[in-house]
């Protein structure tokens, strides 16, 4: 379980990408999803580091797929969000929404 009790920015992005991708969530589509949303190049190593942290906290589970020739005989590792993970994402969303509210500077579009 999480010792910190909240998700970091990148971890939250990874969790949202996992939820969006559903059954087809492995390294490549996850990084593409985050790249498409953020507009920045994402290091696959960072994605895996975040996934390992989330897995240790019990927010994500994984299973090994079949090896393919396209990947030099290496298997894909598929990830999915657990019930705990989903609960954590909802909690983080609530926290962010409540922090977001009542900030006129941001509502008017000022940085």
């Amino acid at each position: 379980m999480s010792k910190r009790g909240y998700l970091g920015e990148f971890e939250l992005m990874v969790m949202l990408a996992l939820i969006r991708l559903s059954e087809n969530a492995y390294g490549v589509p996850i990084s593409r999803e985050i790249e498409a949303s953020s507009g920045r190049e994402v290091a696959l190593g960072s994605v895996y580091a975040a996934l390992e942290r989330l897995q240790q906290q019990g927010f994500v589970s994984s299973r090994l797929g079949e090896p393919t020739a396209e990947r030099g005989g290496r298997a894909k590792r598929y990830f999915r969000v657990t019930a705990n993970g989903l609960h954590e994402v909802r909690k983080t969303r609530q926290t962010l929404i409540s922090l977001w509210q009542g900030l006129p500077e941001l509502e008017r579009g000022k940085a």
């Binding site: 492995y26 290091a43 190593g45 895996y48 580091a49 090896p67 990947r71 030099g72 005989g73 894909k76």
Partner: protein, 236 residues
């Protein structure tokens, strides 16, 4: 699919240095994405990023072990830096290759005088090769002592781990020594400036210490690397 594969050195580093159970999946993902993008620069960036992320993760996960490792490598490098002048002197007196009067070589051993082996008809370049071989053997003793003692203290000694650490550490220390002696001293002529800036002792010990410290750290990584634990190692 592209005709050419990703940079082999980057893949080699990825498979041996990046820790973690997801190493194989990460290597597969990078290859899959490389086939789409076809950029060696992108591949290198990703591999270096994965190495940094892996090392950072290890530091966070086991800061005590990481601290012990850093202390070990610093101690190993410091002890050997102080011992090296005496060790080199011993090596010089014990066994050295000398050109002989009849254009041959003599493996000379002044400590054991009966141990003189004459090799006739070798050129100057071969003489240099023999000297290199002896220097590499001397470094193998240094790096091997570090890797061996580390694995014994860590209770994880195996011949496979030992050879892996020794070879990788030896490679780093030989390159480091070549940079120190050939590149910095001979080509860039930085010795006099460095001595003037830092003082002789700092130059003499600092430039020996750094490659030894780096070699010790890299050899420890190599003994722990993923491929030693995995049952199946798949090549691209």
């Amino acid at each position: 699919m592209r005709g050419s594969g990703p940079p082999a050195l980057a893949t080699w580093l990825l498979e041996r240095i990046v820790p973690g159970e997801n190493n194989e999946a990460l290597a597969g993902d990078l290859l899959e994405e490389f086939n789409r993008r076809g950029s060696a620069a992108w591949y290198w960036r990703q591999v270096l990023g994965a190495i940094l992320a892996g090392v950072s993760k290890q530091l966070h996960a086991g800061w005590f072990e990481a601290g012990c490792e850093i202390l070990w490598t610093f101690g190993f490098a410091t002890v050997w830096t102080c011992v090296v002048p005496t060790y080199q002197d011993f090596m010089l007196r014990c066994a050295w290759v000398q050109p002989s009067a009849y254009s041959g070589l003599i493996f000379h051993c002044s400590l054991f005088r009966s141990f003189d082996v004459r090799i006739v008809g070798h050129s100057a370049s071969e003489l240099e090769l023999y000297q290199w071989a002896i220097e590499i053997a001397a470094y193998a003793v240094i790096v091997g002592s570090g890797v061996g003692v580390y694995l014994i203290l860590n209770r994880s000694f195996s011949l496979r781990r030992f050879w892996s650490g020794l070879l990788v550490g030896l490679f780093v220390v030989v390159i480091g020594d070549w940079v120190r002696t050939t590149l910095i001293q001979e080509h860039l002529l930085l010795v006099s400036r460095s001595v003037w800036w830092f003082g002789w002792a700092v130059y003499e010990y600092g430039f020996r210490w750094l490659p030894l410290c780096l070699a010790a750290q890299v050899s420890i990584w190599a003994t722990r690397s993923h491929w030693l634990q995995s049952k199946h190692q798949v090549e691209i």
